[in-house]
């Protein structure tokens, strides 16, 4: 295997609605920032891979327009996934394993504000049996939370503690959308939104973008004092029919964690892409993380959840903490689909 590392990370300050900018205008400062932080010029980039969703923009091939921000001339080697940018990073990592790419740019963005996000995301299930019911992600997550509560996997107090920890951690994250000092006990006194979820158990709706530079072997060592090496990366998917899944655990995360080698050594911190509070508890369990592991020092997806970028941001946040020396070994996780359907796990290490 070729050693590949995250050497640079940039993101927007995520907001509920970026009304004044189109997608490429929102993305461009992030691309400029990530390239500058890597200490390179754009001509060093051998491969570009992006992640986004046409459904958010309501426009076919909407991602093509954001290539204006990359400058694809003379023609570049480029790819796109209609998924979170974490999977674009995975594609770039695979491509780098083949040997002819030393530096890759990965970016993703999500502008949820043009449409009604809960209605837009009803389209992610099968169009025959479920689509006519317009099942939105909050309602589906509420079903999962109910199942987890009933099974004793999680308590409402634990869910509120996850939210309070996220708000507190986000105080030191300038990109976060929601932050503050709140007590779990006061969160529990709030009314249900979609029972058993309260509004704070759900992620904010965010517009935002993120980008990462990957570099291989000696190129990474030249460009970065302390690269965040990808020591293991794997992703697994579960059936999209909710009825055949055990929603109270995340089997795909467990499998991806095993293949990524999470349990081979001690973990200092974890950035988990858990848009709903109960999902963080399910994921901690699936990854075998003990209380000594700092979870979501950035605040996680409950602090800002730009769809299609929130997973890539977990990888970037974890890598940044390794690069700056605050951690030696971190796990980053990204999810996609309703109720943690698909999960990517990445182990990052400093040298």
């Amino acid at each position: 295997m070729r050693d590949v590392a995250i050497i640079s990370f940039a993101q927007t300050q995520h907001r509920r609605a970026v009304r004044e900018l189109n997608e490429v205008e929102m993305l461009m400062p992030v691309l400029v920032d990530v390239v500058a932080k890597a200490g390179i010029t754009k001509d060093r980039i051998d491969f570009v891979c992006s992640g986004s969703a046409d459904y958010l923009a309501g426009m076919a091939f909407s991602f093509v327009m954001t290539l204006d921000g990359v400058g694809p001339w003379p023609p570049i080697s480029e790819s796109h996934v209609d998924m979170d940018g974490a999977w674009a990073l995975y594609e770039a990592w695979v491509k780098m394993q083949m040997g002819d790419v030393d530096v890759a740019l990965v970016y993703s963005y999500g502008k949820s504000s043009p449409g009604n996000l809960r209605r837009v995301l009803t389209r992610q299930l099968d169009p025959y049996y479920l689509a006519p019911m317009w099942p939105d992600p909050v309602s589906l997550a509420a079903l999962q939370a109910r199942a987890a509560l009933d099974a004793g996997v999680v308590t409402e107090t634990e869910m509120a503690e996850v939210v309070a920890a996220s708000r507190r951690a986000a105080l030191s994250n300038p990109s976060a959308q929601l932050r503050g000092e709140v007590e779990a006990s006061s969160l529990l006194s709030e009314e249900y939104f979609v029972a058993p979820l309260r509004r704070h158990d759900c992620p904010p709706i965010s517009d935002g973008a993120a980008a990462v530079i990957l570099a291989a072997d000696d190129v990474a060592r030249q460009l970065c004092e302390r690269p965040a090496w990808i020591r293991g990366i794997d992703h697994r998917i579960e059936p999209h029919s909710l009825g055949v899944r055990d929603l109270t655990r995340s089997v795909s995360t467990e499998q991806a964690a095993t293949h990524a080698g999470v349990d081979k050594d001690k973990i200092d911190l974890a950035e988990l892409h858990a848009p709903f509070s109960h999902q963080e508890v399910i994921l901690r369990r699936a990854l075998g993380l003990g209380d000594e592991v700092a979870v979501n020092p950035s605040g996680g997806a409950l602090a800002a959840n730009p769809i299609m970028a929130a997973g890539l941001i977990r990888l970037g946040e974890a890598a940044t903490r390794i690069t700056c020396g605050a951690a030696d070994r971190a796990v980053a996780h990204a999810t996609s689909g309703p109720c943690l359907q698909q999960n990517l796990v990445c182990v990052l290490e400093g040298e």
């Binding site: 009304r19 004044e20 921000g69 694809p72 837009v120």
Partner: protein, 173 residues
Amino acid sequence: MPELILPARLQGIEQVRSFRAPARLDYQFTAGLATTRFLRAVAEKRLVGQRCPKCQKVYVPPRGACPTDGVPTEEEVELAHSGTVTTFCVVNVQFYGQVMELPYVSALILLDGSDIPIMHLIQEVPYDQVHMGMRVEAVWVPDDELGPTLESIKYFRPNGEPDADWETYKDNV
């Protein structure tokens, strides 16, 4: 298609062979800073592009970035209301929502001073006389009907100038 064979308890029940699940999602389009400035100018009967600081090309309508160099475009450039037909299409086929009488001509027009053509209609000339290199000018709607939309230009028509030299538009066909 082979007949479905149902279990005994379901036989005699009318089979579902299809159903409709209509979906409708509404979106608010965000023009962005650059295109907003372009559309506001159109409402004032002006055409405004943006120049790339690197390759010097002028883009219209501008989207805030040079699609070649990937750098922000900030310098605004006032464009003429005349231009050159680079390519065109004679539309002969009815389609849903059609408002034009057939046949009509849809063309790519390279506005003078710009480096990328816009699409618009060519009128006031028989469709079979439209050709590459033809010089045309914008015909605007009355001032009280101007708005932030390219429909503020009703169409383009020949302006009587001799055909443009191929060299002036060969990069845009």
